[in-house]
Amino acid sequence: MTDTAPANLDETSVDHIIIRFAGDSGDGMQLTGDRFTSASALYGNDLATLPDFPAEIRAPAGTLAGVSAFQVQISDHDITTPGDAPSVLVAMNPAALASELHRLLPGGTIIANEDTFDERNLAKAGYANSENPLEDGSLDGYTLIKVPMTSLTKEACAELGVKPRDADRSKNFFALGLVSWMYSRPMETTTDWIKAKFAKNELVVAANTAAFKAGHAFGETAELGAHKVTISPAKLEPGTYTNINGNTALSWGLVAATQLSGIPMFLGSYPITPASDILHELSSKKSFNIRTLQAEDEIAAVASAVGASFGGHIGVTTTSGPGVALKGEAMGLALSLELPLVIVNIQRGGPSTGLPTKTEAADLMMAMYGRHGESPMPIVASYSPAQCFDAAIEACRLALKYRTPVMFLSDGYLANGTEPWKLPDVDSLPAIDVEFATAPNAKNDEGEDVFWPYLRDPVTLARPWAIPGTPGLEHRVGGIEKQDGTGNISYDPDNHAHMVQIRADKVAVIADDIPPTMVTGPDDADLLVLGWGSTWGAITSAVRRATAAGHSVAHAHLTHLNPFPKDLGDVLKRYPKVIVPEMNLGQLSKLVRAEYLVDAQTVSKVKGQPFTAAEIYDVIVGALQ
């Protein structure tokens, strides 16, 4: 029931395992982790992953800066995080061992590629006097499995006619083979994948397959039997599953919104880590009535999306923090024009360039306030990789229905992390009804039919969306203050006050149209953990564990950050204590404190790494003492 209890290595069956693959950026660890994950997913385990790589395409080989890691938890039951401390560390070189060892559980297993532990690499990894940790007893507290992966791979490839240098590139498949053997993963998933992926180059297929099989065989023959364990498939809800990361789920959610609304989509985007993959994904979805533009910069990206929205598309722009910081003025325009627009921010470590490949969730305040003037905008945040799908649809729904820019917040951890996703029945997804204006809606002083672009729906306060091409509804919109109703430029003081209030109200009324706060746990719990975004997995896991340990804890998680669910104030006031774990210095807590005058206490982690369940568990226990 917990994400972190060490797997019992003596048994042949465990309920979960946490493995961390680590190697040089050039060693293909992301791919290795990914393949292991896929095989486990298809095998039926529940799982969650955490890729963790440097900002450079390839930092100097063998250095600590160049270490790329991938952590995965697989389990026979429902889990919500990639796990806290791995019980198995695959270390492809000394730098990987040096940089990742501190994460390993005491007594955990190290699988090391001993071929790389030579003087040069040891020095690069900072081992003083090139002391070899595989030999000097410093790893005595762990189970150490030394494997000459490089040489065995070369050996396996030699007979295929693969040059040793090229064979070296396959050693990650050796590692994958070995680990697949240890955890009884089916082999075909991987060999089939190799065949498909490298179809263009037979020799590479052969080499990778040979390396993979050699790794598998090594486990079988090298008397590693004691390390072999099985993890049964998880008892998940019946259905069809796929293993998905947040950026893909988000992209598909945008595709789904296009289909559900029948409104074509226009994506204006400028590449930036960790958001670029959404641009990549959508640029290959042309047959879904989606157009993408790689713009010259972030401002053009959002501006072009505003133009497309004016033309009757749903304009979307995807970026990360630095990009959002550039889009503020154009978002303000969309807000003043009252046109649909979705701004997706895949948050990363900041400020400035910060830690581009690391996760953080410190852009909530910018989402709320990063524009001049009173510029309220709805905010939707996703909380797990797969849930990005639903959240993206929700962001589009609000944008279309209320004719407003909507900020979508995800983060690097959700973007790249994966989890199994039970695929929804497409037909059961609710349609998004949008209607363009087609006829005049007012009379002028002469009693003639005219079109007023700011004559609002009394409930949603949305203005009509009349798109070019519609005869008789010609009109002009702009960022200068306009008269409510006619939309004509107006400097009238009272009208301005009215418009400022209307724009605020338009966001506020959304509270009537969103679900109440998602709360788990007893109403009379001693403590409420309030979260938003990707902390959901760790909080869920920690709260489960605390509950199991006899504590009375509840968990509320927000998917709508602006407006808040209507009941949030009541929810918060129900509990004597409220803590708010956030990957920032306390942004949501500021918002709820200001709104409800509740003494919500921040629990901060700003390390470019997600919370572990253990960290939150400790805070919960601490808070209850």
Binding site: S38, A41, L42, Y43, G44, T189, P233, E237, P238, G239, T240, Y241, T242, N243, V255, A256, Q259, F266, K285, K286, S287, F288, N289, R291, L293, A295, E296, D297, A300, A303, S304, A305, V306, G307, A308, F310, G311, G312, G315, E329, A330, G332, L333, L423, V426, I467, P468, G469, T470, P471, G472, L473, E474, H475, R476, V477, G478, G479, I480, I489
Partner: protein, 341 residues
């Protein structure tokens, strides 16, 4: 939208109910009139016509056209328009802005729109000054200009918008001025007919902050001597008696010649359609300030695939070959597995 006969319109149909808020005497009025009078001739529909602008005096333009319009934000009109043109290739999209809007804050969007060859018609109101913010120098102001922000004279070399556009791979580049309605209309008509990004630089008088900037070449009595009319396929000549012209000298440089000296065969024949933009560029260099004989007309008009059409062609082709997107299938495009009860 598929109705084929376009109803006849008049200037009044293209005139909105909002009263222009420019200073009396501003050149913007004559440009507005030129456009409003031209539209009925173009055989287009009001509802399929969109004017997008940035911010500035010039950028108020869309409010006065009874079409769809957007007064966006400073400098971003080319980017906004790119999105609209890609989303809606069925529309006529006109982009309006001043020299500050288009060349200062908006310079990057402009050059990218030009190289992409997006189907937008850009009217650059060049008054060599920031009008709306009350008279600072602009990227087209002459060096040494004394303005509120340059009390002892500006020291920036100005852009030549024609040269910049040609350097940015523009397919249609023209210049006109606010004192000649017919010429303006001819340039706008040509821009409209062009498939792709078309930019027309309009010398526009700001009579409040930069009065007479173009008077030395655009005043009725100066024009013959100072405006060099570019006509495709014709030798380039000008002057009251058409007595001067352009010719290439031995160093390969274009210069102004007296026809009496060189003979009319020596004159350069204007070829706006030349694939190689080098000659159009060379012609754009003739006048470095609107105080010298200055070429006007179409410098360059060549065909190249239009961006929005290409985007939509890709959409159509992919859709044709893969079928319309199938969400159910998409969700199953990665490996899946089934869990049974």
């Amino acid at each position: 939208m598929s109705d084929t006969t376009v109803p006849e319109t008049t200037k009044a149909d293209w005139t909105s109910d909002q009263e222009p808020r420019w200073c009396p005497g501003c050149g913007d009025y004559s440009i507005l009139t030129a456009v409003q009078m031209l539209m009925p001739e173009l055989g287009v529909r009001r509802e399929n016509t969109v004017f997008i602008s940035g911010i500035g005096c010039a950028a108020r333009f869309p409010y006065y056209m009874d079409t769809y319009g957007m007064h966006s934000i400073h400098g971003r009109a080319p980017a906004v328009s790119t999105g609209l043109a890609v989303a809606r290739p069925d529309l006529d999209v006109w982009v309006i802005g001043g020299d500050g809007d288009m060349l200062s804050i908006g310079g990057n969007h402009l050059i990218h729109a030009l190289r992409r060859n997006v189907n937008i018609k850009i009217l650059l109101f060049n008054n060599q000054i920031y009008g709306l913010t009350k008279g600072q120098y602009s990227p087209t102001s002459e060096p040494g200009k004394v303005t509120k922000s340059t009390p002892v004279g500006s020291i920036d070399e100005p852009f030549n918008p024609i040269s910049l556009a040609i350097g940015a791979e523009a397919t249609f580049v023209a210049r006109t001025h606010d004192m000649d309605r017919k010429h303006m209309q001819e340039m706008f008509r040509r821009a409209h007919a062009h498939k792709g990004a078309a930019i027309v630089e309009i010398y526009q008088n700001c009579n409040v902050f930069n009065d007479g900037a173009f008077a030395q070449i655009t005043k009725r009595d100066k024009r013959d001597a100072m405006l060099i009319n570019l006509v495709h396929g014709e030798p380039i000549r000008f002057g009251a008696e058409q007595e001067r012209g352009l010719a290439m000298n031995s160093a390969g440089q274009i210069e102004i010649v007296e026809i009496a000296d060189v003979g009319s065969d020596a004159l350069l024949v204007h070829d706006e359609a030349s694939e190689d933009p080098a000659l159009a560029f060379a012609i754009s260099r003739l006048a470095t300030a609107p105080t010298m004989p200055t070429p006007v007309g179409v410098f360059r008009a060549v065909e190249r695939p239009e961006y929005a059409a290409e985007v939509n062609r890709q959409v159509d082709e992919v859709t044709a070959s893969h079928g319309a997107g199938d969400l159910h299938g998409l969700l199953r495009s990665l490996p899946t597995w089934d869990v049974t009860a």
